[in-house]
């Protein structure tokens, strides 16, 4: 179709995305995940002399896995149990094979990249840091499709580029970048969630 704005599929996708992000829970989950990645990155680059740091790294890795797999389920049950009066009820269609394929491919690529960085197979340079900031910022803006996500995406991309040119080491830069992105998402998500909760039931998003 010449203009995607009149394509019902595009309209539906945008509306579903808007509803999905209306309570801030996806941002809170993404923020916690980024903070976990940041913590893990920080612990992995620290000298592994104490048992406490090894245990902390294992705990962070476990938390990361738990957040990645459990966050969608937790959001769904939270909305169904406590937010149904505000968020509403929706039953989505089963996820298609194409989407599952894309999800698995992205997960494999990300796991490969993390493995490469941690084992040193992938040389961590400024280009990787800047690239991660740019791709991460673009993803945030594209996935959210709301003004606050676009602003967040631009800030993350700028932070990535700033760190890339600031001369900090790769692992430190990644820990700072993910930590910054995580904090930003967590604060933004919490503000949206509080506003969502304080809104009288049955009113629309302003």
């Amino acid at each position: 179709m010449a203009d995607s704005a009149v394509d019902p599929n595009t309209v539906a996708r945008r509306l579903i995305q808007r509803a999905h992000n209306s309570d801030g829970l996806p941002e809170i989950a993404a923020g916690l995940t980024c903070l976990c990645v940041s913590g893990l990155e920080y612990l992995l680059m620290a000298p592994r002399e104490s048992i406490a740091s090894t245990i902390a790294a294992v705990v962070f890795a476990f938390l990361l896995l738990l957040l990645g797999l459990g966050a969608p389920w937790a959001m769904k049950s939270l909305r169904k149990r406590y937010l149904i009066g505000r968020w509403g009820y929706v039953q989505y269609k089963p996820i298609g094979r194409k989407q599952i394929g894309i999800g698995i491919t992205v997960a494999i690529l990300m796991a490969g990249a993390v493995f490469g960085v941690v084992t040193g197979l992938l040389p961590v340079g400024g280009w990787l840091l800047g690239g991660t900031g740019l791709v991460g910022g673009a993803l945030v803006a594209w996935c959210g499709r709301l003004l606050r996500f676009v602003i967040g995406g631009v800030v993350v991309a700028a932070a990535g580029l700033f760190l890339a040119f600031s001369g900090v080491s790769g692992p430190t830069g990644f820990a700072i970048l993910f930590g910054f992105q995580g904090l930003m998402a967590l604060v933004s998500g919490t503000v949206v969630f509080v506003r969502f909760i304080r809104r009288p039931i049955g009113t629309r998003e302003s």
């Binding site: 179709m1 010449a2 203009d3 009149v6 394509d7 019902p8 599929n9 309209v11 539906a12 996708r13 509306l15 579903i16 808007r18 509803a19 209306s22 169904k80 149904i84 009066g85 505000r86 968020w87 509403g88 009820y89 929706v90 039953q91 989505y92 269609k93 049955g202 629309r204 998003e205």
Partner: protein
């Protein structure tokens, strides 16, 4: 005149209205949704959404079921087969014309 553009005259008027198109497009993308979900995702007012849902139900494009989940009353809406056909036809006509 191009016959494809002429077909625009036959476009379904009920679905062609922007608010109703939003609702139908949304319901086509999910299995079912309740009034509150439609309200917050479309950004329509309660009264407006209610009127549009009634018109779509009258036309047989959506089915509305009133139920409860715990203490919350739910007005669950889902697209009917007829509604899906009309939306597919609308998509084809608009695609051809634009």
């Amino acid at each position: 005149m191009n016959p494809k553009i002429q077909r625009l005259a036959d476009v379904d008027r009920i679905i062609h209205e922007p608010s109703r198109l939003m609702v139908v497009a949304l319901l086509a993308a999910v299995k079912e949704a309740d009034f509150q979900y439609l309200l917050q995702s479309t950004g329509l007012t309660k009264g407006n959404l209610s009127v549009h849902l009634s018109k779509l139900e009258e036309a047989g494009y959506i089915a509305i079921e009133k139920t409860f989940r715990g203490k919350y009353p739910l007005t669950i809406c889902r697209l009917t087969e007829r509604g899906r056909e009309v939306l597919d036809n609308y998509r084809k006509v608009m695609k051809a014309a634009l």
